[in-house]
Subunit: 380 residues, 2 copies
């Protein structure tokens, strides 16, 4: 694949003051200082209370994952097999695959990761894929760690309760090629509940379910060392409740609008925005608003509308206006110029990031590096 | 960049019967016969009445564009500079860039395309980028065709009426390095109006505006040969009204849910689905539904919900259930198996396609080729 002209132009301006505002657009702009501060803040918050295994489905980048490891993360989480493969190929170790995978090719691919990563762990919620994985691992003389995914109320993946968990543990125990590493309980539906107390109350119910499963497994003689789960929105509740001994937050590295709105300035929300989508004004002929070159293909559209972060447009509103365009209400003051830059806080960061190939890392107004999104779409 | 395991697996199954249902998921599946039928149907519908310059922002693929050219298309439209660059690099000629671009690097990049593509045309709606383009074209001894984008009511891009159009034409006329090729008027807001008559009525108003601009330009001595615009939803009205002499439909190649719902079986809607997102069932433990591995990162989320096309799930509903997952209500009949495939009609095809790198072209149940999405995200 040849480098596109836009990428070559961006590369050529690395190190130039003002380059942040001359990038080909739309582009992801990542403030390294804000990113580092978020990574340090979460590490400090969790340190000594639980293990931290940040979820990389948010950023999909080995460069960011390495920063997290340098701050004491015990490994990284991946949501998909392709993501785990890409981050493994980029050198990450201690990968936890948080979603059950069932494809016929999965056993071989999971073994390939485990072969280079002794810390690899994968979630399971059904005996059939366990049987298939055990057979491949046996053939390859590997011992693979699995954890039982427990449904704590989301009803997306996971076993439904203590009896199902024990049955699955019994099944896993039949295979010397597998080790039961622990359990996982993730409540995606809790993450954006507004108000710390309401969020903690929801988490408490789910963690009771998870604790019950752990008790049942231990009661049946299983040693459950790893109890993993949680997200950016529930770190406070998870630390307070103390059921989980490892946390998997992801979005805190960037802090998107969706989280900022839900968490406000409560204990879970004290992270700064580090990621923006940069756009430029491409048409100024309409009266009520100006048109920018970032539309449905530049953002996730499942969350709140993109919010302008550029000071001059801070009271403007954005509306999607087609695949490649959006409109921004005119700010007070001088007429808006063609080419004027408007940066937006990402509305929902994970599916926004997955629309891009690279981060433009900035120090102030200067692009200092272009970092690949290693696992972008390789999850497919 | 190395080939991902998922891509290597998909490549290895090309030609194998049943491979469509064994692809790593999520994946785009494209039925070549249905695609060809759509391309032929649109070509037949427009032939002899107007030029056809299909919009490639939908598919971003030179392979599909070549099929359109083979059926008589006069060229292809691109929505972004990066898209035009990618398709130019892939050998496409007769490219029309439908959106004004204003970046400081745009003049050089537009000249690069024009240098290899004598049929290249780009839309403008403001004198400043015209001045800059003319200077670069002059330096490089090129003569570049521009067309005046006219706002026909969408208020996204385009000049606002006859006086502004004539002023811009006068500005263009100052530069021997530019040729005024014609005008463009696109009403994105008309495309999904339900009911042929209501749609035609909306188009009629906009086309009166455009015709007024053409009259004013001709009255001022400008030869306006190209009058281009339109989309999949307005082809019937555009042909009937006869203002446009070139049409730019894009989505008809795939026919997504959004268009199918709006157009029904009226004259504009007689195209078949050719594109699906293929997923597989990854968890079956929850009672009300099963979980598939296609979520917010696998689809556009601005349109209707993804609709299952796989027969057994044809009465099931889908709901987004996180970045990587969705849930599908359980069908009647036998229990759903892990790994069972569920294909979905793309809800809004353009921003769905832009989430992927390749099409898996199928003949029936067999993958026959994997085609790159040449301009995927290079538009950034």
């Amino acid at each position: 694949m040849t480098t596109s002209p836009a990428k070559a132009l961006a590369q050529a301006m690395i190190g130039e003051p003002g380059s942040r505002y001359r990038l080909p657009t739309p582009a992801l702009v990542l403030d390294e200082a804000a990113l580092d501060a978020n990574i340090a803040a979460m590490a400090g918050r969790v340190r000594g209370k639980a293990g931290l295994r940040p979820h990389t489905k948010t950023h999909k980048s080995a460069w960011i994952a390495r920063k997290q490891m340098a701050q004491g993360a015990v490994g990284v989480c991946c949501a998909k097999l392709g993501e785990a493969e890409a981050l493994s190929a980029a050198g990450m170790r201690g990968i936890l695959l948080t979603s059950p995978v069932v494809d016929a090719t999965a056993p071989k691919r999971l073994c390939d990761i485990a072969q280079v990563d002794p810390g690899f762990v994968c979630a399971v919620d059904h005996p059939d894929p366990v049987t298939a994985l055990a057979a491949d691992a046996h053939r390859r003389n590997l011992r693979i760690q699995v954890l039982i995914d427990v449904d704590v109320g989301l009803m997306r993946t996971g076993v439904s309760g203590p009896a199902a968990a024990v049955a699955l543990a019994d099944h896993i125990a039949r295979y010397p090629s597998l080790t039961l590493a622990g359990v996982q309980g993730y409540g995606g539906h809790w993450q954006h509940i507004e108000g710390f107390d309401a969020r903690r109350e929801a988490v408490r119910h789910g963690m009771e379910t998870l604790a019950g499963v752990v008790d049942a497994l231990r009661g049946n003689g299983y040693r459950i060392e790893l109890i993993t789960g949680g997200g950016t929105g529930t770190v406070g509740a998870d630390l307070e409740l103390g059921v989980l001994n490892e946390l998997q937050p992801g979005s805190y590295v960037f802090m998107d609008t969706q989280y900022a709105d839900a968490l406000g300035d409560d204990a879970d929300g004290r992270f700064g925005t580090s990621l923006w989508v940069s756009s430029q004004v491409v048409s100024v002929n309409a009266e009520p608003f100006v048109t920018v070159d970032a539309g449905l293909k530049a953002f996730a559209t499942d969350g709140p509308a993109p919010r302008p972060a550029t000071e001059r447009f801070s009271n403007s509103t954005y509306a999607f206006y087609g695949d490649e365009h959006g409109v921004v209400s005119r700010p007070p003051g001088a007429a808006v110029r063609l080419g004027e830059r408007v940066e937006f806080v990402t509305p929902h960061c994970d599916p926004t990031v997955d629309r891009y190939d690279s981060y433009h890392v900035v120090h102030g107004d200067t692009v200092v590096a272009i970092i690949p999104i290693d696992a972008a779409r390789s999850s497919r």
